[in-house]
Symmetry: C2
Subunit: 213 residues, 2 copies
Amino acid sequence: MNVLIVYAHPEPESLNGSLKELAVDTLKGEGHQVQVSDLYAMNWKAVLDEDDFKERMNPELFNPIMEQLNAVKKEAIPLDIKEEMDKVRWADVIIFQFPIWWSNFPAILKGWVDRVFFNGFAFNTVEMQSYDKGLLKSKKGMLSFTTGASRELYTDEGPHGEIETIINYFNHVLFELVGMEVLPYFAIFGPGAMSEKQREAELERFQEVIQNL
Amino acid sequence: MNVLIVYAHPEPESLNGSLKELAVDTLKGEGHQVQVSDLYAMNWKAVLDEDDFKERMNPELFNPIMEQLNAVKKEAIPLDIKEEMDKVRWADVIIFQFPIWWSNFPAILKGWVDRVFFNGFAFNTVEMQSYDKGLLKSKKGMLSFTTGASRELYTDEGPHGEIETIINYFNHVLFELVGMEVLPYFAIFGPGAMSEKQREAELERFQEVIQNL
């Protein structure tokens, strides 16, 4: 099995960093192939802008989604995006490993989606290819994240509301939209308030999930 | 009234650009003060990273949310963030004007939230200041966006699911979390499929909303 981990934490020694390392070691130990896109280490360009499109369909007015389709046809895709697309093509499973910031992806990870999941590569607005016709069919996607807040704060009764509401939405409009199958999310809630022993138990729980992917 | 428009579209001639211009003209015409943060034109740094923290509380391990609190106390905040904080302090109303990408903010706008809504400025994790104790109390926030998909595609029966599910969540964990009052969102669904006349009617509808802020 080929697994791509898209990892977005600025601190290698963070819990997210440990989760990423553990996933790599566990998967390799089981004979799988793994690639990691360490977005901070790669200094990943987060912002989709005109610089991504050197051969414009319309040089007068910049319409990103239409320029993406044109760039795929003309094979005029910037190298950093092309390399990520190659990893996506290669992968059977894609794991996003990240800290929840503002109940959402860190900007650098959102920018990976904005820039890599091209119209014409992951879906196609002209050919109406999305969901059951999505272009990344037969791949699986998994959100693996940590939160600052405890699980209780992320329920319908808690201040933030039930986190599954937003996670389910993201899974749907991201992975399912491009035809992928959604794997159950993995979350560690409020690790900052945990003892070392509790954190280790959470890492073990993660390892089991990864072993059973 | 002081209004800050945080605007995130790479194309000035886009519908989002027109909405931003219309809001500025309408508000000024009514005697209000307006500032615009044109994130693409400013070449806004989207990624929260170590470079934002020159006087580290912990130089060994980078914990962004704790370093934010420390930077506020030491008044060691980078100039680009400080300028945005000044605009936020000044504003009675903050409008986010953006295209929906992947049912979410463009990365550059998410990065504005990640980098500007500091712990110790917008909320405080140590003093437990959020929601009714949020630090941006008495301000109002509004999401104004365009979508590629039509309204029908963004309903419970449509492929994407009801967009209000995610917009309500964003309003809550973003504006309400920092103590702000949420204004009704404004959306133009599927403008690409509209006639010029329909688009003009949508702009008029927006102008009325802005006049009645």
